[in-house]
């Protein structure tokens, strides 16, 4: 029912976590791009026709909130799902992103939330 053609950009500084997340999303039928830090993610986001972003909050250098803000400036319509290892995020961050969730809630929750923010693709229905 979901379009397998959706391109999702994952940004996280945790290598293992990022790899596992990529595998999980690919199994779910998404095409996945990964980046280990904010600047790389922003670069990919600008270049590729990304449909949604799964963004980690806590990263060295540029944190998720700053990355999301830049992305909103480039392509405001692309939904962003913010992941955080912290249970609470600053309100200015939750206001920018489309949806936020805590790491460790489990794969089904991630897939369900990602699905909910993605626009349906008419051409593939």
């Amino acid at each position: 029912m979901r379009s397998p053609q959706h391109l999702v950009l994952c940004v996280d500084d945790e290598t293992i976590g990022l790899d596992v997340r990529r595998m999980l999303l690919e199994r779910a039928g998404y095409r996945v791009l990964t980046a280990l830090d904010g600047p790389t993610g922003l670069d990919l986001f600008a270049r590729e026709p990304v449909d949604a972003v799964v963004l980690d909050y806590s990263m060295p250098g540029m944190h998720g909130g700053q990355v999301a803000q830049r992305m909103r400036q480039v392509k405001p319509s692309v939904p962003i799902l913010m992941l955080s290892a912290y249970t609470s995020l600053p309100p200015e961050v939750t206001q920018i992103v489309t949806l936020a969730m805590t790491k460790g809630e489990g794969a089904p929750a991630l897939l369900q939330k990602l699905g909910s923010i993605l626009p349906p693709r008419a051409s593939h229905l």
Partner: protein, 597 residues
Amino acid sequence: MNASSFDRILRKVVIVPVAALLAGAALLLWQISQANRTVALIEGCDTRIALTLRIEQLVVDQEAGLRGYEITHDPRLLQQYYVAQKALPAAFDRRASLVANNQRRDQVNSLRDAYETWQQTFASPLIATIDAGGETNDVNLNYDGKLRMDQIRARVAELNSLTESVRDKAVQQWHRQVRSTIVSLLVAAIAIGLIIGFYVRSLIQQVSTAFRQSHDVLRIRAEQTFRSEERLRTTLRSIADGVITCDRDGRVQSINDTAQELTGWSERDARDQPVELVFPIFDESTRQPLENPVARVTRSNQLVRLQNHTILIRRDGTEIYIEDSGSPIRDKHGELVGVVLVFRDVTVAKKSQEALVANEKLAVAGRLAATIAHEIHNPLDSVSNLLFLMDGVANDRERDQFLALAKQEIARVTQISRAMLSLYRESKAPVEIDLKELLDSILLLMESRFTAVGIAVAQTIPARLCIRGFPAELRQVFTNLITNASEAASPRGHITIAAESIPAGFDQLGIRREAGVLVTIDDDGPGIPPDILSHLFQPFYTTKGERGTGLGLWISRGIVTKHGGTIDLASSTGSDGHGTTATIFLPATPTLGTAVS
């Protein structure tokens, strides 16, 4: 007006009246002497008149004797004549000596001539005639005698009338003098009285003015003193600190409003009470009574401050934390006459401070919990995703891969959990540790890591460097620091580890240091910029990104502090001799404090 001018006025008060009276007396004396001269003049006149009259009397006596003899021819009757004749020359001489001027002398001489003429031309011939038995009834002869006698009388009258006129003048002059004396006396009396009166009045006025001025000055001074005393009293009363003054024996003399409020003693009740009763103080932790500052000040005769953690027990039994000082009150000779205690309620400040410390502890705990959550949520996320993948479509190879990843992530969780646990693990008692052994064992374990990244380790550690402490914790400290050094020096850098035993003394800052061991760990890495260096001992501060917890140095310092030691980092980022030095001092026999707080 001062005392000398007052004395001068007193002298004037005596001298001026005396001088005025003396002047008056001199005037009076002069007047009296003038009058006396006049009196003497009058007396002289009287004497001359009397003498002249006496001469006349003698002449009359002679004539009477002569007439009797002429009539009776009895010589006895001539006796009177001769007596008078004998006395007359002396009388004339005397009278001549008393003349006032030549005219009078001439008159006296002419009287004498008249007498002598009478006596020689009439009396003596008459007596001789009678003695010779001659006739003396001749009218002419007798008449001639009478004429001559009249002449004498006329001369006497003339002389006396002149003298009397002089006497009258003198008497008149005397009267005038008496009048003028009376007038002078009156005038002088009035003048002297007025002079003395006005003069004394002016002096008394001066004295009175001076007195009034002194009185005013005294009154103003008294008012000023009263006001300044009142101001001091008000200031003391309204001062926000408690102030108690005591005499030398430690009895309360005054207690201001704040002190009354803090101690619960009213001024009336507290007065003359021993200060230990009004101001009982105790040590906060031991609950032992503290020596009262009054006693300490009396003993040392200088300002003393209370030690911290002082509790004042109020009259109603409640307790407050106070800060206090006692200072000696000295009189102008520097003698101790009392003690003043100044104290303030620091209960609120103390509670606030405690609350802050507790707050900080909570904040640290909160940050720690957040870190733990973060550190655990990341692997947990991966593990839960891996399990989901394993649960779904996966071949054996993939399953093995997922399983390996999951194990790796679980190991990470375990590592973090252990690291957190080690923070709070405490041995029961310190043991003797040979730092040489400890450092050697750490270096041995890390040897393979050094070889892998090409680190050269040089060490100068003498044998038997013994201190007392908790070995597991110190191992953690040194592992931490050597790991930091090796990471900084990588790749192909150098680490130098040195240790030495140092005697008790003073460090570079002049702070007293007991005997112990100084360990230094040097690396030749790039060095740490000052802005980062200052944060390194803060918890959760890391330069290692996800590889570090940011707790290593913070915990290390906690452990070193617990061992009574110090830990410092110095670093240089210059092109020459860049690198970082960690210096750890551990006392040989520490008084062990509390662990990381």
